[in-house]
Subunit: 175 residues, 2 copies
């Protein structure tokens, strides 16, 4: 074992985020701390309609002070399977129920300091279906032709890690 | 303005991570909270040697309890330009000074709750050069042939968002 946890201090236990500070003994015997954000695992979804449009969402991200264009994503509720989260999130965020859902990948969002893992799915065969939810009032649904996606990433219009990783992973799988 | 910040509570002010909780008034007049992790901006670097190997790092990520294979990345120190961070980080993490550095993109890591932005660079024309730094003792340097990268992403061997986004963005730009 290269590192050993000596003690853990719980700093904050919130709605979406927890924070703990671990004191670590490293392999060389020196001690240090690790600040660790605990966040539930999530699903992120490349949603493709029958005209080869990617269905995306534009929403205010208070942490960065901008409205960003992203693929739909959201937390896995307790007791939910990831694929159930996909069905729920898409009905809440974009008003579609997908009849076909395929797992196409997954990744840690920021493993240097956060526990969060995102399951990446492709959702197709969409049927209009709306579920009401909190905090979805200001989500704007935006359809982007698939062939425009690489350009929107290059230009910085799509500029969050999960959307870039998810969309390019899907495009590469198709090749 | 769709949202207005009513108050801010500073919860934690640590070494790499700060945490604040904002109370927000939404467009409909209802109030809610936003938990926001503050993290310095970073650089992430696709490093390519003259034999078309990607120079990557394998290191223990305590937050997820695994040794992950990632592209080199690190924080921008106060007063540093991102390109200076690239030169410093690569000498600390992989023992190379790049003589050519090009910006090829950038992205927010997790804009739903974190302020961090990553500047994405391509580094080439490598010269052996080592800078000592804390917390780099357990970093293993791994050279991966560029043509194997898509397969390592598909198989889940490369499984963090910045590495997948950065590597696929580089590969797509080359096409």
């Amino acid at each position: 074992m290269p590192e050993r946890t000596i003690s853990t201090e719980q700093i904050y236990n919130g709605r979406a985020v927890k924070l703990r500070v671990d004191t670590i003994e490293k392999a060389d015997g020196k001690s240090t701390i690790r600040e660790i954000v605990e966040h539930a695992d999530c699903v992120a979804v490349v949603v493709l309609d029958e005209e080869d449009n990617v269905v995306m969402v534009r929403q205010l991200r208070e942490a960065v002070g901008k409205r960003l264009l992203e693929i739909p994503a959201g937390g896995i509720d307790p007791g939910e399977e990831p694929v159930e989260s996909v069905r729920r999130e898409l009905q809440e965020e974009i008003g579609f129920l997908p009849h076909r859902i395929e797992k196409i990948g997954g990744f840690y969002s920021t493993p240097g300091y956060c526990t969060e893992y995102l399951y990446l799915y492709l959702a197709t065969e969409l049927e209009a279906s709306r579920l009401e939810a909190e905090d979805t009032e200001n989500i704007e649904v935006v359809k982007v032709p698939l062939e425009q996606i690489p350009l929107l990433i290059e230009s910085g219009e799509i500029c969050d890690a999960k959307s870039i990783a998810g969309l390019l992973q899907f495009i590469n799988l198709k090749r």
